[in-house]
């Protein structure tokens, strides 16, 4: 009879009490809820908010110590929140909106740390994907340059002191009727607007001024003039058969780029079920991302844009039987005629957009769209967009007021005019005259540095908020981490100063949303549902028949005064990565190569090689560009596709108070902006002179621009493709004694049939549709975030050592091709020499995302001496970092050059103070992915960690993974779904069906490395006669 030991006398008695509790760790009840000041009952109801509290305990405790001790050494949970399981990510629906970009997102958190942004596919606006800027925004949370305390005159101060001072000042000012101004960028949040209203109620002299660094005031005003509605429409590119974009970079930088990209992607996709695609004509001055995707691209100087619009208007007016307008651009007459024909033929399915901020021009555009019947098909003004509300006139007035000394208090929210304003100097001077100057900035930025008070706002991942980006379409923003620093959400500050008693902004929003609760739902369930889904669409507002009341004649007459007043026109454009510069301190964005120029860590003057020759300039020469009395000197970058006598420079650079990564990177181009006829004008004309300064090195990730006549990106035209689906993509054949054969049929090596090489379970692969890839680079940032890819900084980029696992190659067409070399009487040598030169005037542009192709006959594997890279049974090319000795033979032998070598110890060397090294930014690292040490090779793993977790989930439910259940970071974030991940063994997979299409091809098939990744031919929708020309050529 074995001995029995009792844990205690209770066990001996075996009381029912004891039996009930014996399996709990603590048999008696612990006062947890009490200790956290919660009613014991409530813990069962709203668990998610409690989670945040508990969570806060762990992370906040660690974060407070962040400055001294590494964040890695975070405290274990004292009480494990029930919905946090170490090693298992949690996803929270939330929203990104910084007054410039908007996206409804899912935030991936690990052990309470937000580490990745993913698209919320429930969202009708940004459901398809997330842009590079939004992807990168998570890093901003851990940005060390953030202000960690409230500041008064730059000195840390307690909340209460600041509150007391500010409140007394405000009361005093309001008391004596002094003007209080709240200056903000576009606010999409109804609740925030309500807060401002409440604040105004408390301090009646308050006025809210909205100012956008990159403004669409011209459109707002134009719509007011045309339709009596000062709002931006929402666009439906997916309904457009013919898209004419005039200087409008709608794919990455205009109003709602993610949405537009998604819609555009739909129209560009072709397959056996969808034989047509949209036709896209771009009329622009500098080669924008959108322009480089256009089927036809017409170059005009920005100063000619107004006149060109008049011409186009007249051509269409002629068809529509409307009266013609005076003025116009005779040079464009013929082309405008052709375009008009196409638009008119597509009447009702056409769309004309202009990126101009000129009121008159936008009035004409409205007129054109009206004649084309685009409203309610491709343009929707009922569900109007709130994305941009900036009022240029009001801002100009504010600056005047400030200088006049008639503004007593200025509260700057989410806006940085001291850096972005066209008349920043004036603004700064005016600010000196303001008695109470306060900024809510998250860092001591250019404006905050001039303000007396800094009440730092939370990062959006620490905040509650609600948004109405499009009329009737809402989304919520919820905190995914306890605030890292001693900050307070701006709305709460305002409420506090307005003496409005609410526990938190959350309650305030909830209050506001009570009103929106549908009848059939209780508020709680409505609220929970909305939080879970993160997005909510209310019924469409009643349709109003639009009547066009714009005075086109006045518009035309004032527009035709628009002339170039200098030898060159300067376009001030926005870059896909840096945008308006608010995220400039984000290393991911700085190192994201510009989609078109492929330059990192810089802005520069884009100068066409032609102009450069005239001015005897070379790449890297410094030039002084003088507009009015502002001179900016910057380096020359030779950029094909620029309009005659036109140069361009990007906004968002040359920050001085943004943080170490951004400060003094590039030049600030905002001073070139001027206010013309009531709105800001994003081009200028001035003089260009060679500067005496030494040459400057511009570093790019791609030093060769053309395809050298190789079939890297295969292309065809829609007309040909409709006739022959294999057009532009004939089989690659190799001469053998048995006649021509496909490379894979003449192969010494093993096939799947042979033992040891079967793919018993899965064979992962990826499809890349070159026709819908717009080259925006969102995938690159997503990959950086997912796979802890090192940021290496400008110098290393200069040494061609970027670490990106996925890159987007950009090729220009060249004048000389293999086909026309004979006609041009060129020998082979000179032919190759000429093919290196891209077409100067108006090159065709090709984008091609390249990551590891996971070859089934991988050249890299066979040459590795130590078996550090081998093939998995589900078709992945695997890399064992800690076996690698670093001979770099694999990289040499990789025909796609996708392998990346760790030249330095990026995670330990202060030379690289970025995500892997910076103690605070390290919090963004993905715990599922190893940090690679010095001297080892790395490359795309096809997000193997995602594949594994997907397989596990499926296995737990004893089923196979469903198609689309597992997505690589790049595929998931792609706004146009150009990248599709899937399983060759899954007959239902979309990837497989794409693989079977005739457009599919393997890159460099003749090498027979049998990649798992394949591409689909690029299809150009040229006009019929043009494609005929090409046929003749071919």
């Amino acid at each position: 009879m074995e001995k029995k030991y009792w844990k205690g006398v209770e066990e001996l008695n075996n009381s029912p009490e004891f039996l009930k509790h014996r399996n709990n760790e603590f048999t008696e009840h612990l006062p947890i809820e009490e200790s956290l000041g919660i009613k014991a009952s409530s813990i069962t109801e709203s668990t998610r908010r409690d989670f945040l509290k508990f969570l806060g305990f762990g992370v906040a405790a660690a974060s407070l110590a962040a400055c001294e001790t590494p964040i890695r050494k975070t405290l274990p949970y004292v009480i494990k929140p029930e919905d946090v399981i170490p090693g298992v990510p949690n996803f929270y629906a939330s929203t990104f909106s910084d007054g410039h970009d908007y996206a409804s997102i899912l935030v991936k958190t690990r052990e309470g740390r937000p580490i990745k942004i993913e698209p919320n596919d429930l969202s009708p606006i940004s459901g398809k994907g997330v842009s590079a800027r939004v992807q990168a925004s998570v890093l901003g949370l851990y940005d060390n340059a953030r202000t960690k305390k409230f500041l008064i005159n730059g000195m840390p101060a307690s909340k209460d002191t600041l509150d007391k001072e500010v409140k007394s000042k405000l009361a005093d000012i309001a008391g004596r009727g002094g003007n209080i101004r709240i200056l903000s960028s576009t606010i999409l949040s109804p609740s925030t607007k309500k807060v401002i209203a409440d604040f105004t109620a408390k301090y009646p002299t308050t006025k809210h001024i909205t100012y956008d660094a990159i403004s669409n005031y011209g459109m707002l005003k134009a719509n007011e003039l045309s339709f009596g509605k000062a709002a931006l429409p929402s666009y439906h590119f997916e309904n457009a058969d013919v898209i004419v974009s005039i200087g409008c970079d709608f794919l990455t930088n205009w109003i709602s780029p993610i949405e537009h990209a998604g819609q555009y992607g739909q129209t560009r996709k072709v397959n056996k079920d969808k034989k047509t695609m949209s036709r896209h004509i771009q009329i622009e001055s500098n080669l924008s991302l959108t322009g480089s995707n256009a089927d036809d691209r017409i170059r005009i100087r920005p100063s000619e844009q107004g006149a060109t619009v008049i011409t186009l208007y007249n051509k269409i007016a002629a068809k529509a039987g409307q009266t013609a307008l005076s003025g116009g651009n005779s040079a464009m007459d013929a082309i405008a005629g052709k375009i008009a024909d196409e638009l008119w033929n597509a009447k009702g399915k056409a769309l004309v957009v202009s990126g101009s901020n000129n009121i008159n021009e936008q009035v004409l555009i409205n007129g054109i769209n009206m004649m084309l019947g685009s409203y309610d098909s491709t343009i929707d003004l009922d569900r109007h967009s709130n994305m941009k509300q900036g009022n240029d006139a009001a801002f100009v007035e504010l600056v005047n007021e400030m200088n006049a000394g008639s503004v007593a208090a200025l509260l700057v929210y989410n806006s940085n005019p001291a850096y972005t304003a066209p008349n920043a100097k004036a603004f700064a001077d005016g600010l000196k005259k303001v008695e109470l100057s306060l900024s809510f900035a998250d860092r001591t930025d250019e404006t905050a540095a001039l303000c007396k008070y800094l009440a730092p706002d939370n990062h959006y991942l620490e905040s509650w908020n609600d948004y109405e980006p499009i009329n009737g379409s809402y989304s919520l923003c919820q905190p995914t981490i306890q605030k890292l620093y001693d900050t307070r959400q701006a709305q709460e500050s305002l409420l506090t100063w307005a003496d409005i008693p609410v526990a938190s902004f959350h309650d305030y929003i909830a209050e506001h949303w009570k009103g929106m609760t549908p009848a059939e739902m209780s508020f709680d369930s409505f609220w929970t549902k909305s939080l879970q889904e993160g997005t909510l669409v209310t019924n469409a507002p009643a349709k109003r028949t639009l009547s066009f009341a714009g005075n086109v004649n006045d518009a035309a007459s004032s527009l035709s005064n628009q002339k170039s007043s200098g030898e060159v026109d300067i376009v001030i454009y926005e870059k896909t990565g840096i945008g308006n510069g608010s995220q400039a301190n984000n290393p991911w964005l700085q190192e994201l190569p510009d989609p078109v120029s492929k330059v990192c860590w810089d802005n520069y003057f884009c100068v066409s090689p032609k102009l450069a020759k005239e001015k005897s300039l070379e790449q890297g020469n410094m030039i002084d560009v003088k507009v009015g009395d502002t001179t900016i000197s910057g380096p020359v970058y030779l950029q094909p596709g620029m309009a005659e006598k036109t140069i361009a420079i990007a906004m968002g650079y040359g920050r001085t108070n943004a943080g170490d990564a951004a400060n003094n990177v590039g030049k600030n181009a905002y001073p070139f902006i001027s206010v013309v006829s009531g709105s800001m004008q994003y081009w200028a004309s001035g003089a260009l002179n060679k500067s005496t300064a030494d040459d400057y090195k511009i570093y790019t990730t791609q030093t060769h621009q053309t395809m050298m006549g190789r079939e890297i990106v295969k292309e065809t035209t829609l007309a040909e493709w409709q006739k022959n689906p294999k057009a532009g993509n004939p089989d690659v054949l190799i001469e053998t004694p048995e006649g021509k054969q496909r490379p894979k049929d003449v192969d010494l090596w093993a096939t799947e049939a042979q033992p040891g090489f079967e793919r018993p379970n899965h064979a992962w692969g990826m499809a890349i549709d070159l026709n819908s890839c717009i080259g925006c680079g969102a995938c690159v940032v997503a990959c950086n975030a997912e796979n802890n890819v090192a940021v290496v900084g400008k110098d290393e980029i200069g040494r061609s050592r970027e670490m990106h696992w996925i890159r987007i190659d950009r090729y220009y067409s060249s004048d000389v091709t293999k086909e026309n070399a004979e006609e041009k009487h060129l020998g082979q040598l000179s032919m190759y020499g000429e093919m290196e030169k891209p077409t100067v005037e108006n090159p065709k542009v090709f984008f091609q995302p390249i990551m590891c192709q996971h070859c089934n006959h991988a050249p890299c594997e066979t040459v590795c001496p130590v078996v550090a890279t081998t093939h998995s049974s589900d078709g992945l090319n695997m890399m064992a970092y800690n076996r690698c000795v670093g001979t770099r033979y694999c990289a040499n032998n990789c025909p796609y050059k996708v392998r990346r070598f760790n030249w330095f110890n990026y995670s330990e060397s202060a030379k690289f103070p970025y995500t892997l090294y910076s103690e605070s930014e390290r919090m963004v690292l993905n715990p599922d992915v190893t940090i690679r040490s010095r001297g080892v090779m790395e490359k795309c793993s096809m997000c193997i960690q995602r594949i594994q977790s997907g397989k596990l989930t499926a296995k737990k439910e004893s089923r196979r993974p469903k198609d689309g259940e597992i997505k690589t970071a790049c595929a998931q974030t792609c706004p146009t779904n150009a990248i599709v991940f899937g399983d060759y063994k899954d007959s239902s997979s979309q990837m497989l069906s794409m693989f079977k299409e005739e457009r599919s091809y393997w890159l460099l098939e003749e090498l027979d490395v049998q990649p798992s990744v394949f591409y689909q031919t690029k299809v150009w929708n040229h006009k019929a006669e043009e494609s005929k020309k090409e046929e003749v050529k071919a």
Partner: protein, 468 residues
């Protein structure tokens, strides 16, 4: 009744040496003091060696980022130097093994130092294999050890593993070949030793060799077999090195002609290096009577032969690139000759193909200064050959978006300069402490190829004519 050899055969030992004089001459550098030339050379070499140590420590300490290589050009000076040094090594084995099999007597006065050169050159080469690794501290993983879990071996499909075996075999075999040859000569020094320490050290080095008939019998047999083994070995080593490139898919590397072409190039550069070394040695150590103009002439003949072979290899590469009709292949070669690295290609052509043709003239072949100059030129040319093959092939391969330029850093240059020190320091020590000419073997031709014997033969002939 001496061992009769045709009097047409050239004199290999001039200056009417007696056998004792030969011993004297060859032991003199070991027993005497070093002259100032030797010291000057030694100081320069040691300085270079120190610089090598500094650059190597810097590389290993900070990382390969200190070099100029990048995402596209993964190998550059490192592997160029490796191949260059291995190539140089080959002449030593060739002279002592293949010329032995061909019974070329003139090898006897040069094989010893040539073999020494081989060994030190291979050491230099090996140093680059290790230093080019991202993690040199785990270089031993490239030997077939199991990993800590017992089952992860090396990849025998990889040419780099073939290299590991080839180079280590080559090094050790050359070492024993060289050393076994040294045994009798150490015995000579031992038996002449005046001081206790010399007696002790050379007794140790000579393994107690006494030179009995049986030992000599075995000794000769062994030398013959070792030569028989080394001959295919030396050919295999550079073939394997060439396969690092030939088995890859990089256009400009993927070439079946590489093995013979590399071996020829190796012999070419090797003999040039032997010339460089011996022309200095014979001057500094006064060995003109043993390393005669005839020897120099013979080596120059091999240089012009192998040089021409290499030239033909270059041509056929181009022809095949064009004839294959493969886009990438033909562009790789067009790019070599006309691309951004044209200067490297044309310096290679001038140094390796054009200038050696001057050696068709015997006058130049027997001109010591000119030969010395040429030997340097050839080695520069052969360095460029490897640079051209490696860098110009890599920097523009398949996908134009990844085409880049490569620029070396001071560290890489330092490592190359330094490796010369790593080579010359041991070589200079060798000339001081080891017999630089295989005297025991040389004495076997005493009765056939010394000047006085030849003269005697001529006089006998005359006599016969008069009497007859």
């Amino acid at each position: 009744m001496s061992i009769v050899e045709s009097d047409l055969r050239p004199v290999l030992i001039t200056g009417d040496k007696t056998m004792h004089q030969i011993t004297e001459d060859i032991c003199r550098p070991i027993e005497g003091k070093a002259n100032k030339y030797w010291w000057m050379a030694f100081i320069v070499a040691s300085a270079a060696l120190t610089w090598w140590v500094i650059c190597l420590s810097y590389t290993i300490g900070v990382g390969l980022g200190t070099w100029g290589e990048n995402k596209t050009v993964g190998w550059a000076w490192d592997i160029t130097n490796f191949v260059w040094w291995v190539g140089i090594g080959h002449a030593g084995t060739l002279i002592s093994a293949i010329l032995l099999l061909f019974r070329q007597k003139w090898r006897l006065s040069i094989n010893r130092s040539a073999e020494a050169m081989t060994i030190f050159a291979v050491i230099c080469a090996a140093s680059f294999i290790v230093s080019h690794m991202g993690r040199p501290w785990v270089a031993y993983w490239s030997f077939p050890f199991a990993n800590q879990f017992g089952s992860l071996w090396v990849n025998f499909n990889s040419p780099l593993i073939w290299d590991v075996f080839a180079i280590s075999t080559y090094f050790t075999v050359s070492l024993v070949f060289w050393y076994s040859g040294l045994l009798p000569d150490f015995a000579v020094v031992r038996d002449r030793a005046k001081t206790k320490s010399m007696k002790f050290w050379y007794t140790l080095l000579s393994f107690g060799w006494s030179g009995t008939a049986k030992n000599w019998q075995r000794f000769e047999e062994m030398s013959l077999v070792l030569a028989g083994l080394s001959a295919p070995l030396v050919l295999s080593v550079h073939s394997v090195v060439s396969m690092d490139f030939a088995t890859s898919i990089v256009p400009g590397w993927h070439t079946t002609i590489f093995p013979p072409y590399f071996v020829a190039g190796a012999i070419f550069s090797g003999f040039a290096m032997v010339q460089t070394l011996l022309i200095i040695t014979r001057k500094v150590l006064g060995m003109e009577d043993y390393i005669t103009l005839y020897h120099i002439d013979m080596m120059n003949r091999i240089i012009v032969l192998t040089g021409s072979i290499v030239g033909i290899a270059y041509m056929s590469e181009f022809f095949i690139a064009w004839y294959s009709g493969v886009e990438y292949e033909s562009y790789a070669f067009i790019n070599r000759a006309t691309g951004p690295y044209w200067w490297a290609y044309w310096s290679m052509m001038t140094c390796n193909v054009i200038s050696p043709q001057l050696f068709w003239s015997q006058k130049l072949r027997r001109n010591v200064t000119f030969t010395f100059f040429m030997s340097i030129i050839v080695n520069i040319g052969m360095w460029f050959e490897r640079f051209v093959i490696i860098v110009t092939s890599l920097h523009r391969d398949y996908v134009p978006s990844s085409w880049v330029m490569y620029h070396p850093t001071w560290v890489e240059m330092g490592l190359f300069i330094g490796s010369l020190g790593l080579f010359f320091v041991p070589f200079l020590l060798f000339t001081r402490f080891f017999p630089v000419i295989a005297m025991s073997e040389l004495k076997t031709i005493f009765h056939s190829s010394t000047s006085q014997v030849k003269r005697q033969q001529k006089e006998d002939k005359k006599g016969e004519l008069i009497n007859g």
